[in-house]
């Protein structure tokens, strides 16, 4: 059960870590300073979540690894984030499309995890769910304004969403280990969450005068370490200093 819990916590922590890292790339480059602040707010929340989940993961593993060791010293194949969050930022529409889908999912997930049988998970979820409610609403606001803004913004939002649809199954993927945890009340049953999330997504898309297409062929594998070409490049940048300086203090 311990190894299953460890893997589950990695999935939760890595999602937040990788998405937080992607949002950091926007720093100083957003369409207005106000939007820059919004994005870095999101990033700060996500890094905070990652620190808590990965910190707990390290304790569960009892192998002497803390959150930093897990964040900065694993290779791509040992990361357990979903494929959606490692995709490149693209333009602001693509970033908001990714954010909207992920945060809608994460909100439903954390909401369920507030009553996890694991006290620590419940505690972290209770704090994070308030942050993510804001993330999901903010992203939805932008999907609506860009989807139903100008012809150009609409085209870009459709494009941005189209980049994301092939990663939807991966977001909700569960394996036997996670199903066992869900049966024990520790993990959330993602299959049960999916219709809720889908409903919310469709509602916002309608407001944006957009529609959800038929899903394309799904690409999966993030939860078991099979990632896209993007992750190793992202990690090379993120991890460069600790890996170049073993024994360093930061």
């Amino acid at each position: 059960m311990n190894d299953l819990l460890f893997q589950y916590l990695l999935r939760l922590g890595d999602d937040s870590l990788i998405l937080g890292q992607r949002l950091c790339e926007w720093c100083g480059h957003a369409p207005t300073i106000e939007v820059d602040l919004s994005l870095s707010n999101l990033a700060l929340d996500l890094i905070g979540q990652a620190t808590l989940f990965l910190g707990y993961a390290g304790e569960v593993e009892s192998g002497g690894r803390d959150a930093d060791a897990l964040a900065f010293h694993r290779d791509a194949e040992d990361f357990r984030n979903c494929l959606l969050v490692e995709q490149p930022n693209g333009d602001f529409a693509r970033t908001m499309a990714r954010q909207f889908l992920f945060s809608s999912y994460q909100l439903a997930l954390l909401d369920r995890l507030c009553s996890s049988a694991d006290g620590r998970i419940a505690e972290i979820a209770a704090k994070a769910v308030k942050e993510v409610r804001y993330h999901a609403d903010l992203a939805a606001d932008w999907v609506v304004r860009l989807g139903d803004g100008t012809a150009e913004s609409r085209g870009r939002m459709i494009e941005g969403l189209d980049d994301c649809w092939r990663f939807l199954d991966d977001l909700f993927a569960m394996d036997d280990g996670e199903r066992a945890l869900a049966a024990a009340g520790i993990a959330a049953d993602k299959a049960a969450l999916r219709p809720l999330v889908q409903g919310r997504v469709e509602q916002v898309l309608r407001q944006a005068t957009l529609s959800m297409p038929g899903l394309p062929w799904q690409v999966t594998g993030g939860r078991t370490g099979r990632h896209s070409e993007h992750l190793s490049r992202l990690l090379a940048e993120m991890q460069v200093l600790p890996r170049a300086h073993p024994g360093a203090r930061w």
Binding site: T32, L37, S38, L138, D141, R145
Partner: protein, 94 residues
Amino acid sequence: MSKDWPLWEVFVRARGGLEHRHAGSVHAPDAELALRHARDTYTRRMEGVSLWVVRSADIVASDPDQAGELFEPAASKVYRHPTFYDLPDAVKHM
């Protein structure tokens, strides 16, 4: 004509505070995003429990040239202030 997003004035009521106070301004295209930007800009250190945003153009301010007529008369009506009344020490709770 400026293509800027309009300016909004932000008022924050702090945790345990009694009234909203002017915190500053933000640019936003609409009311909803004005609230979001205000929250992201002015409540990062948990300063607030309530936010008001008002379009700057909608604020009606008193004319500073009339500050004399509007406000000086109040200065001479000191009996409105509790400290004007010198009560004996024996009177408590007042």
